[in-house]
Symmetry: C2
Subunit: 196 residues, 2 copies
DNA sequence: CTATAATTATGGCGATCGGTCTACTACCGA
DNA sequence: TCGGTAGTAGACCGATCGCCATAATTATAG
């Protein structure tokens, strides 16, 4: 049943890499096919739903890859704060290696297709939920009380950082965003929280 | 010298609105021309550089519009924290009115064209710098010491929030992001900052 | 009124878009 | 040997892509 050439998997990986650099609408099917060395027939056999289905698969694939990264960082972390810091470092280094070109593999697709393509919207939702769960799992590992909204904030920060990083051509925002998150977790007597 | 029909301006505004919903590569010239009721000849007269030049103009236009929003919020604010809060509210309400469809007008273009199109990269850089200046100006108005990196963090947060808002179909992240920012400003005895 | 520039208007260019179609090959159990 | 299924291969489709050439129109200046 499973093919030995893994055409389907190769298509997903190649598409994900290309989307990451130039966005969903910025990459044509022909280019993906050429880079994957797969003919159109094979593509539409594996993805009857066409480019949209490939895009959804790329979202889920990239989402799972990042989830693995989170798990790995969590497993290797010596302290609670170590987890997100290591994770950010991995992201930042990979980003640097790509010549500051590769954005978030999810956003690069979703920003163009949500809400136009419902299936993509759902997929992104699920991926974000997956990431949130991994973050909460990490917190549990270190007995840190973490609300879902706290985890969501980390996602928000990293997504924003990835945009800034690309624009500024620097990996600093990615590293910085985690520090902001850790800061935001501390219930601190900050100024000006309740105006009037 | 200045045309009475303002074809050029209309093209920019329409293009900006369309890009915002479906991204730079997701909107064709023909559609922009139809929506602007402008013929191709006029377009290439005003934008000899083609779509790329229009995109750059849209970036700068949208950037200036948002800068005005920041200024307005700053002028109307009763306290320092009031400024970004009002600003976020305006963004969030506009976003809701668009049916949770309109993302950040800059990102919707830049994510697809940076770093492919150098002129766009520069334009986005300048817009972000402009926003940063406005934020710093607001802080000065209320005698709040604010570093450039602090201002950059707000931009990072709002950009991330705009992504989350679109995915979650909610304006909450936009409002929340400002609170995170205000929290992050307080130099607080937070836990776990220096591991090991 | 005329000359000149500014702007609008149209049609069509080659290339590429995503998608469909049919043919072909490889491997399977019967 | 056969039929059947999984997968590969690539020609071909209409539509749209961004762009360009050129003519018609309008505004401005002398």
């Amino acid at each position: 049943m499973s093919s030995q050439s893994d055409t389907r998997g190769r298509l997903i990986r190649v598409a994900s890499a290309l989307f990451r650099q130039r966005g969903y609408d910025g990459v044509g099917l022909t280019e993906i096919l050429e880079a994957s060395k797969a003919p159109k027939g094979s593509f539409y056999y594996h993805f009857p739903g066409g480019k949209e289905e490939l895009g959804e698969a790329a979202i889920r694939y990239a989402g799972a890859e990042v989830a693995k990264l989170i798990e790995g960082s969590s497993a290797a972390a010596k302290s609670f704060a170590d987890g997100p810091r290591m994770f950010a470092k991995v992201l930042a280094d990979g980003f640097e290696q790509s010549g500051f070109r590769e954005g978030c593999p999810i956003t690069s697709i979703a920003l163009a297709t949500v809400p136009k393509i419902g299936a993509h919207a759902s997929a992104v939702q699920e991926v974000f939920d997956l990431w949130r769960d991994r973050i909460l799992g990490h917190a549990r590992r270190f007995d840190v009380a973490l609300a879902e909204t706290d985890a969501d904030r980390l996602l928000l920060l990293v997504e924003g950082a990835w945009i800034m990083a690309r624009v500024r051509q620097s990996k600093q925002p990615l590293l910085d965003s985690v520090e902001v998150w850790l800061l935001s977790l501390a219930p601190a007597p900050n100024r000006d929280r309740n105006p009037a």
